[in-house]
Amino acid sequence: MAEIKAAEVLGRKKSRLNNTATLFIILVAMFGVFSYVGRPFFFSKLNIIPMLNNLSFIGIIAAVLTMVMVSGEIDFSVGGNIGLTACLVALLLSKGLPGWLVVIIALSGGLLMGAFNGMLVTVIGVNSIIATIGTMFIWRGIGYTLSNGESMLAINPVIDFIGRGFIFKVIPFPIVLLVIIFVVTYVTMSHSKWGRKIYAIGANPLASYLSGINVKKVKFVSFLLCGATAALGGLILTSLSAVGMPQHGQGLELVIVSSIILGGTALGGGRGQILGTLAGVLILSILYNFLTIMNVYYFYIQIVQGSVLILVVSTYEIRQAMARRRI
């Protein structure tokens, strides 16, 4: 991989812009075609708003997971985190705790889960794929234990507002959250010292360490934030469905990781953009929504899901190979 990195440095700025721009062009084209083919249902308020709500928690988690992935690590435990948070929220609400306190506890729980992942990866030094697959089991299992495998009602004014509330009576609150998270992560990654550090660590951890970056601290904080946003995603999903189920978020890690990779983030780290992730999330969510509207069976959607992932990454790889040959 070393020889590829050199090529990337030379043509970095230009190629990144191109990739993200291409994704947005694809997105607009897809949206146009789907609106026409899927008329009158696809482009209607009844479809667009729920679709955006459903994509909001995927996008929120994807944005922060992008930071983790750019730093060269991965977090597969976000789906389990959602399940645990959902059960925790429903359980605490059934005990009669006030909504705002439940939100605080849920987010702190997310921070704790993130801290545990971060500790495993940075302090103990476990491979993050294996560590987070393990914690994925643990979170999901604790979720099942808390709820005893049942789904519990989670109705409370504060919780309801997170997923189903409106700002100024028109803008859904999850969309507001999505926009806020994307703006914050975009500014962090592209215009702050912290973001530079994350890119540097992903490209070459040893060099970053030697140039004075506290690699472990940066990675730990990324995991911490990832845990907290996954819990926020869990809150949104609980609110949208009005129940806390341990099955919430099952398999979501694959959708999220696919979106991020579709957005151009390299698995080994060092390369990736928040805007690309946004495009990836939008493209995949719109695609699956369209297929559902067109009455396609779920197993066909699964086939499409897998094929899209492989096809997209292939085009990236082939384009990179061509760029390398040019240099």
Partner: protein, 326 residues
């Protein structure tokens, strides 16, 4: 970073894998289970333990080969499911394809999936995790083409494939696993393919520079994985007596846990089948013990995850050669 890697004897190398830690935990659990449950040491229970791990053991054999070569195969559960349901459909009364042909078709399916995985990973150059994550979804989707046929296995030969006990005690499936593990151990140790595979897992660029046909070896490793998945698929339909599209779901994680606990290094270059076999027995015993101890079904997931995290953490701490700076 270090200058010269110290030479260790085979025994010392074994001590450096997670397996000894695992055996320690295992002994504690064994004593715990034997003391608290009087059924644990019953012959009927031990027979069950050994027969239960057939599918995961066979799949683990192939995935271990892939992982030693630095690859990753997450599509195994789906591949086993596909081979299983296709064979089950072909064995249905109104189709009646001869059994040997069905077996050949199942094996061909597995090898084909492995070949496709290998070609995408080596020729296109996609990360193996992503590729097999994609094929996992695709193949599982294909399995659902036959979702409403619901074939039952009435063929006696196929039924016996995964259910016979030798001398009424020793399950034949364990024989399959041992045979597979022994053959693969010999292949990896004494053939050129095996040595090349370890070299590729250790350092792929180096292997390429040394003139090893990296792509070909890697593709073969994925085909081997696919082959064992198809055998596992046949065992699945044999043991469960029917063909369902969801068979084998989640097997990839179980198998990954077993292999990692067995001391195969993620990233390749290190690993042996003895460790994987021990890990296989241990995981199954622990699952079984938890059933006998009436541990709530949901807690078992937690325990399995915690075990993985614990063993890997201990392994990481023990094998830390020098202070980890980043």
């Amino acid at each position: 970073m270090e200058k010269v890697e110290k030479k260790y004897s085979a025994f010392m190398n074994f001590l450096r894998t997670p397996t000894p830690t695992l055996i320690g935990i295992y002994l504690v659990m064994l004593i715990l289970f034997s003391l608290t449950s009087k059924n644990f040491l019953a012959i009927q229970n031990i027979k069950g333990i050994f027969n239960n791990f057939a599918v995961y053991g066979i799949i683990a054999a192939g995935v271990t080969v892939v992982m030693i070569g630095g690859g990753f195969d997450l599509s195994v559960g789906s591949t086993a499911g596909l081979a299983g349901i296709v064979s089950a459909v072909l064995l249905m009364k109104n189709i009646m394809v001869p059994t040997p042909v069905v077996f050949l078709i199942a094996i061909a399916i597995g090898c084909l999936v492995g070949l496709i995985n290998g070609l995408i990973i080596t020729k296109v150059g996609i990360n193996p995790i992503i590729t097999t994550l994609g094929t996992l979804a695709i193949i599982r989707g294909v399995c659902y083409f036959w979702a409403n046929l619901n074939p039952r296995i009435l063929n006696v030969f196929v039924q016996n494939l995964g259910r016979i006990y030798i001398g009424n005690v020793f399950p034949i499936t364990t024989v399959y696993i041992i045979v597979a593990f022994v053959i693969l151990t010999l292949v990896l140790k004494f053939t050129r393919f095996g040595r090349d595979l370890f070299t590729i897992g250790g350092n792929e660029n180096l292997a390429r520079l040394a003139g090893i046909p990296v792509d070909r070896i890697k593709i073969i490793s994925y085909v081997i994985s696919g082959f064992f998945c198809s055998i596992a698929g046949l065992l699945l339909i044999s043991q469960l007596g029917s063909g369902r599209p969801e068979y084998g779901t989640g097997a990839e994680l179980e198998v990954l846990t077993i292999i990692v606990l067995g001391g195969v290094v993620v990233g390749g270059g290190k690993g042996n089948f003895l460790g994987v076999f021990i890990a296989l027995i241990i995981i199954q015993t622990i699952s079984n013990g938890m059933v006998l101890l009436d541990v709530p079904v949901f807690m078992r997931t937690v325990v399995k995850g915690a075990l993985l995290v614990l063993v890997i953490s201990i392994d990481a701490i023990r094998n830390r050669k020098n202070l980890q700076l980043y």
